[in-house]
Protein backbone atom coordinates (compact mmCIF):
# COMPACT_ATOMS: atom_id res chain seq x y z
CA UNK A 1 0.00 0.00 0.00
CA UNK A 2 3.00 2.29 0.13
CA UNK A 3 2.72 5.31 -2.10
CA UNK A 4 -1.01 4.92 -2.65
CA UNK A 5 -3.13 7.67 -1.15
CA UNK A 6 -6.85 7.83 -0.54
CA UNK A 7 -7.14 10.17 -3.52
CA UNK A 8 -5.93 7.49 -5.93
CA UNK A 9 -8.98 5.39 -5.17
CA UNK A 10 -11.43 8.29 -4.99
CA UNK A 11 -10.36 9.64 -8.39
CA UNK A 12 -10.64 6.15 -9.87
CA UNK A 13 -14.16 5.83 -8.44
CA UNK A 14 -15.15 9.29 -9.74
CA UNK A 15 -13.98 8.42 -13.26
CA UNK A 16 -15.74 5.05 -13.10
CA UNK A 17 -18.94 6.82 -12.04
CA UNK A 18 -18.62 9.27 -14.95
CA UNK A 19 -18.26 6.29 -17.30
CA UNK A 20 -21.47 4.90 -15.86
CA UNK A 21 -23.22 8.22 -16.52
CA UNK A 22 -21.88 8.10 -20.08
CA UNK A 23 -23.26 4.58 -20.52
CA UNK A 24 -26.70 5.47 -19.13
CA UNK A 25 -27.07 8.59 -21.27
CA UNK A 26 -25.61 7.04 -24.42
CA UNK A 27 -27.52 3.77 -24.55
CA UNK A 28 -30.99 3.36 -25.96
CA UNK A 29 -31.07 -0.25 -24.95
CA UNK A 30 -32.73 -1.16 -21.66
CA UNK A 31 -30.03 -3.71 -20.84
CA UNK A 32 -27.38 -1.12 -21.69
CA UNK A 33 -28.93 1.18 -19.09
CA UNK A 34 -28.65 -1.64 -16.55
CA UNK A 35 -24.94 -2.03 -17.38
CA UNK A 36 -24.44 1.70 -16.76
CA UNK A 37 -26.18 1.48 -13.40
CA UNK A 38 -23.94 -1.43 -12.40
CA UNK A 39 -20.86 0.65 -13.27
CA UNK A 40 -22.11 3.47 -11.02
CA UNK A 41 -22.81 1.06 -8.14
CA UNK A 42 -19.29 -0.34 -8.48
CA UNK A 43 -17.85 3.18 -8.37
CA UNK A 44 -19.74 3.90 -5.15
CA UNK A 45 -18.50 0.62 -3.69
CA UNK A 46 -14.86 1.48 -4.42
CA UNK A 47 -15.36 4.66 -2.40
CA UNK A 48 -16.92 2.74 0.50
CA UNK A 49 -14.11 0.19 0.63
CA UNK A 50 -11.40 2.87 0.37
CA UNK A 51 -12.90 4.81 3.30
CA UNK A 52 -13.26 1.56 5.22
CA UNK A 53 -9.51 1.06 4.96
CA UNK A 54 -8.60 4.60 5.86
CA UNK A 55 -11.05 4.82 8.78
CA UNK A 56 -10.03 1.44 10.11
CA UNK A 57 -13.53 0.25 11.10
CA UNK A 58 -15.62 -2.36 9.39
CA UNK A 59 -18.82 -0.39 8.69
CA UNK A 60 -17.79 0.59 5.15
CA UNK A 61 -17.17 -3.02 4.16
CA UNK A 62 -20.52 -4.12 5.62
CA UNK A 63 -22.26 -1.36 3.69
CA UNK A 64 -20.47 -2.45 0.51
CA UNK A 65 -21.78 -5.98 1.02
CA UNK A 66 -25.31 -4.58 1.26
CA UNK A 67 -24.75 -2.57 -1.92
CA UNK A 68 -23.61 -5.72 -3.77
CA UNK A 69 -26.68 -7.57 -2.47
CA UNK A 70 -29.02 -4.77 -3.59
CA UNK A 71 -27.31 -4.64 -6.99
CA UNK A 72 -28.01 -8.34 -7.47
CA UNK A 73 -31.66 -7.86 -6.51
CA UNK A 74 -31.93 -4.83 -8.78
CA UNK A 75 -30.44 -6.70 -11.74
CA UNK A 76 -32.84 -9.61 -11.30
CA UNK A 77 -35.92 -7.36 -11.10
CA UNK A 78 -34.79 -5.08 -13.93
CA UNK A 79 -34.11 -7.98 -16.28
CA UNK A 80 -37.44 -9.63 -15.53
CA UNK A 81 -39.15 -6.29 -16.24
CA UNK A 82 -37.19 -6.00 -19.50
CA UNK A 83 -38.25 -9.53 -20.50
CA UNK A 84 -41.86 -8.80 -19.58
CA UNK A 85 -41.94 -5.55 -21.56
CA UNK A 86 -40.16 -7.27 -24.43
CA UNK A 87 -43.12 -9.65 -24.72
CA UNK A 88 -45.42 -6.65 -25.04
CA UNK A 89 -43.43 -4.26 -27.21
CA UNK A 90 -41.15 -6.74 -29.07
CA UNK A 91 -38.29 -4.31 -28.55
CA UNK A 92 -35.74 -3.45 -25.90
CA UNK A 93 -35.20 0.09 -27.10
CA UNK A 94 -36.21 2.59 -24.45
CA UNK A 95 -37.65 4.84 -27.17
CA UNK A 96 -40.36 2.27 -27.86
CA UNK A 97 -41.65 2.18 -24.31
CA UNK A 98 -44.16 4.95 -24.81
CA UNK A 99 -47.21 3.61 -23.02
CA UNK A 100 -47.77 2.39 -19.52
CA UNK A 101 -51.19 0.78 -19.99
CA UNK A 102 -51.60 -3.00 -20.08
Amino acid sequence: MSGLGLNHFLVLAALLFATGVLCVTLRRNAIGLLIGVELMLNAANVNLVAFHRWHGNVDGAVFAVFVIMLAAAEAAVALSIVLHVFHHAASISTDDYTEMKG
Binding site: L16, W54, A72, V77
Partner: protein, 165 residues
Protein backbone atom coordinates in the same frame (compact mmCIF):
# COMPACT_ATOMS: atom_id res chain seq x y z
CA UNK B 1 5.98 -0.40 -5.03
CA UNK B 2 4.35 -3.67 -6.02
CA UNK B 3 0.98 -2.44 -4.79
CA UNK B 4 1.42 0.74 -6.80
CA UNK B 5 2.11 -1.14 -10.04
CA UNK B 6 -0.85 -3.44 -9.35
CA UNK B 7 -3.06 -0.43 -8.67
CA UNK B 8 -2.22 1.21 -11.99
CA UNK B 9 -2.71 -2.04 -13.91
CA UNK B 10 -6.12 -2.66 -12.31
CA UNK B 11 -7.13 1.01 -12.68
CA UNK B 12 -6.33 0.98 -16.40
CA UNK B 13 -8.14 -2.35 -16.88
CA UNK B 14 -11.17 -1.08 -14.95
CA UNK B 15 -11.51 2.28 -16.66
CA UNK B 16 -10.64 1.01 -20.14
CA UNK B 17 -13.12 -1.83 -20.05
CA UNK B 18 -15.77 0.40 -18.45
CA UNK B 19 -15.33 2.82 -21.34
CA UNK B 20 -15.60 -0.09 -23.77
CA UNK B 21 -18.76 -1.28 -22.00
CA UNK B 22 -20.25 2.20 -22.31
CA UNK B 23 -19.37 2.73 -25.98
CA UNK B 24 -19.42 -0.74 -27.59
CA UNK B 25 -21.73 -0.90 -30.58
CA UNK B 26 -23.15 -4.29 -29.71
CA UNK B 27 -24.65 -5.01 -26.34
CA UNK B 28 -22.94 -8.42 -26.15
CA UNK B 29 -19.52 -6.78 -26.43
CA UNK B 30 -20.64 -4.40 -23.72
CA UNK B 31 -21.50 -7.32 -21.43
CA UNK B 32 -18.10 -8.94 -21.98
CA UNK B 33 -16.28 -5.67 -21.36
CA UNK B 34 -18.25 -5.42 -18.14
CA UNK B 35 -16.69 -8.70 -17.01
CA UNK B 36 -13.21 -7.14 -17.22
CA UNK B 37 -14.49 -4.13 -15.26
CA UNK B 38 -15.81 -6.35 -12.47
CA UNK B 39 -12.52 -8.25 -12.28
CA UNK B 40 -10.63 -4.96 -12.20
CA UNK B 41 -12.75 -3.66 -9.33
CA UNK B 42 -12.21 -6.97 -7.50
CA UNK B 43 -8.46 -6.39 -7.91
CA UNK B 44 -8.83 -2.89 -6.47
CA UNK B 45 -10.61 -4.41 -3.43
CA UNK B 46 -7.76 -6.89 -3.06
CA UNK B 47 -5.22 -4.05 -3.12
CA UNK B 48 -7.27 -2.31 -0.45
CA UNK B 49 -6.99 -5.45 1.69
CA UNK B 50 -10.69 -6.36 1.62
CA UNK B 51 -10.32 -10.04 0.81
CA UNK B 52 -13.96 -10.88 1.54
CA UNK B 53 -15.26 -8.15 -0.75
CA UNK B 54 -12.92 -9.12 -3.58
CA UNK B 55 -14.22 -12.69 -3.50
CA UNK B 56 -17.83 -11.53 -3.15
CA UNK B 57 -17.37 -9.20 -6.10
CA UNK B 58 -16.23 -12.04 -8.32
CA UNK B 59 -18.91 -14.44 -7.08
CA UNK B 60 -21.90 -12.11 -7.18
CA UNK B 61 -21.05 -9.77 -10.05
CA UNK B 62 -19.22 -12.06 -12.45
CA UNK B 63 -20.98 -15.25 -11.42
CA UNK B 64 -24.45 -13.81 -10.95
CA UNK B 65 -25.22 -10.41 -12.38
CA UNK B 66 -23.17 -10.82 -15.53
CA UNK B 67 -24.80 -14.19 -16.27
CA UNK B 68 -28.20 -12.55 -15.76
CA UNK B 69 -27.26 -9.76 -18.16
CA UNK B 70 -26.04 -12.29 -20.74
CA UNK B 71 -29.33 -14.20 -20.42
CA UNK B 72 -31.22 -10.94 -20.85
CA UNK B 73 -29.24 -10.13 -23.99
CA UNK B 74 -29.77 -13.58 -25.46
CA UNK B 75 -33.47 -13.78 -24.62
CA UNK B 76 -34.21 -10.38 -26.16
CA UNK B 77 -32.22 -11.03 -29.32
CA UNK B 78 -35.23 -12.11 -31.39
CA UNK B 79 -35.75 -8.57 -32.57
CA UNK B 80 -36.14 -7.11 -36.05
CA UNK B 81 -32.95 -6.33 -37.92
CA UNK B 82 -33.24 -2.63 -37.37
CA UNK B 83 -32.56 -3.17 -33.68
CA UNK B 84 -29.61 -5.45 -34.21
CA UNK B 85 -27.44 -2.72 -35.63
CA UNK B 86 -26.66 -0.07 -33.09
CA UNK B 87 -29.25 2.63 -32.96
CA UNK B 88 -28.42 6.28 -33.46
CA UNK B 89 -26.88 7.48 -30.26
CA UNK B 90 -26.75 10.78 -28.52
CA UNK B 91 -23.02 11.42 -28.32
CA UNK B 92 -23.07 15.12 -27.50
CA UNK B 93 -25.51 15.15 -24.54
CA UNK B 94 -24.00 11.94 -23.22
CA UNK B 95 -20.45 13.32 -23.33
CA UNK B 96 -21.59 16.57 -21.72
CA UNK B 97 -23.41 14.73 -18.92
CA UNK B 98 -20.46 12.41 -18.24
CA UNK B 99 -17.94 15.27 -18.39
CA UNK B 100 -19.99 17.43 -16.05
CA UNK B 101 -20.37 14.64 -13.49
CA UNK B 102 -16.64 13.87 -13.68
CA UNK B 103 -15.73 17.55 -13.19
CA UNK B 104 -18.20 17.91 -10.32
CA UNK B 105 -16.95 14.78 -8.52
CA UNK B 106 -13.25 15.58 -9.00
CA UNK B 107 -13.85 19.18 -7.90
CA UNK B 108 -15.64 17.98 -4.77
CA UNK B 109 -12.75 15.60 -4.10
CA UNK B 110 -10.21 18.41 -4.30
CA UNK B 111 -12.32 20.79 -2.21
CA UNK B 112 -13.04 18.37 0.64
CA UNK B 113 -10.70 17.80 3.55
CA UNK B 114 -11.37 14.17 4.47
CA UNK B 115 -11.22 13.50 8.23
CA UNK B 116 -9.22 10.32 7.85
CA UNK B 117 -5.88 9.03 9.00
CA UNK B 118 -2.86 9.80 6.85
CA UNK B 119 -2.09 6.11 6.35
CA UNK B 120 -4.50 3.18 6.01
CA UNK B 121 -5.00 0.74 8.82
CA UNK B 122 -2.85 -2.39 8.71
CA UNK B 123 -4.18 -4.90 6.21
CA UNK B 124 -5.67 -7.90 7.96
CA UNK B 125 -8.45 -10.28 7.03
CA UNK B 126 -11.86 -8.62 7.33
CA UNK B 127 -13.96 -11.80 7.16
CA UNK B 128 -14.28 -12.28 10.92
CA UNK B 129 -15.09 -8.61 11.57
CA UNK B 130 -17.73 -8.53 8.83
CA UNK B 131 -19.33 -11.74 10.06
CA UNK B 132 -19.42 -10.43 13.61
CA UNK B 133 -21.02 -7.17 12.47
CA UNK B 134 -23.70 -9.02 10.54
CA UNK B 135 -24.63 -11.06 13.61
CA UNK B 136 -24.56 -8.15 16.09
CA UNK B 137 -24.95 -4.50 15.13
CA UNK B 138 -26.26 -5.15 11.59
CA UNK B 139 -28.56 -8.07 12.42
CA UNK B 140 -31.85 -6.33 11.53
CA UNK B 141 -30.64 -5.00 8.13
CA UNK B 142 -29.18 -8.46 7.45
CA UNK B 143 -32.55 -10.13 8.06
CA UNK B 144 -34.34 -7.52 5.97
CA UNK B 145 -31.86 -8.22 3.18
CA UNK B 146 -32.69 -11.92 3.27
CA UNK B 147 -36.42 -11.15 3.08
CA UNK B 148 -35.78 -8.75 0.19
CA UNK B 149 -33.84 -11.40 -1.70
CA UNK B 150 -36.65 -13.92 -1.23
CA UNK B 151 -39.27 -11.42 -2.45
CA UNK B 152 -37.08 -10.50 -5.44
CA UNK B 153 -36.57 -14.15 -6.34
CA UNK B 154 -40.30 -14.90 -6.30
CA UNK B 155 -41.27 -11.64 -7.98
CA UNK B 156 -38.69 -11.90 -10.75
CA UNK B 157 -39.67 -15.48 -11.56
CA UNK B 158 -43.35 -14.51 -11.55
CA UNK B 159 -42.86 -11.49 -13.78
CA UNK B 160 -40.44 -13.05 -16.28
CA UNK B 161 -42.87 -15.90 -16.93
CA UNK B 162 -45.15 -13.54 -18.80
CA UNK B 163 -48.63 -12.18 -18.63
CA UNK B 164 -50.67 -14.73 -16.69
CA UNK B 165 -52.69 -12.70 -14.23
Amino acid sequence: MGAQIAFWIFAIVTLGSALAAACARKIVHSAFALMATFFGVAGIYAILGSDFLAVTQVLVYVGGILILICFGVLLTDRVPDEYKVAQPRRWLPAAVAAGLSAVALLGALQATKWPVAAAPAAAESTVEEIGRSFMTSYLIPFEFASILLLVVLVGAARMARGGTR
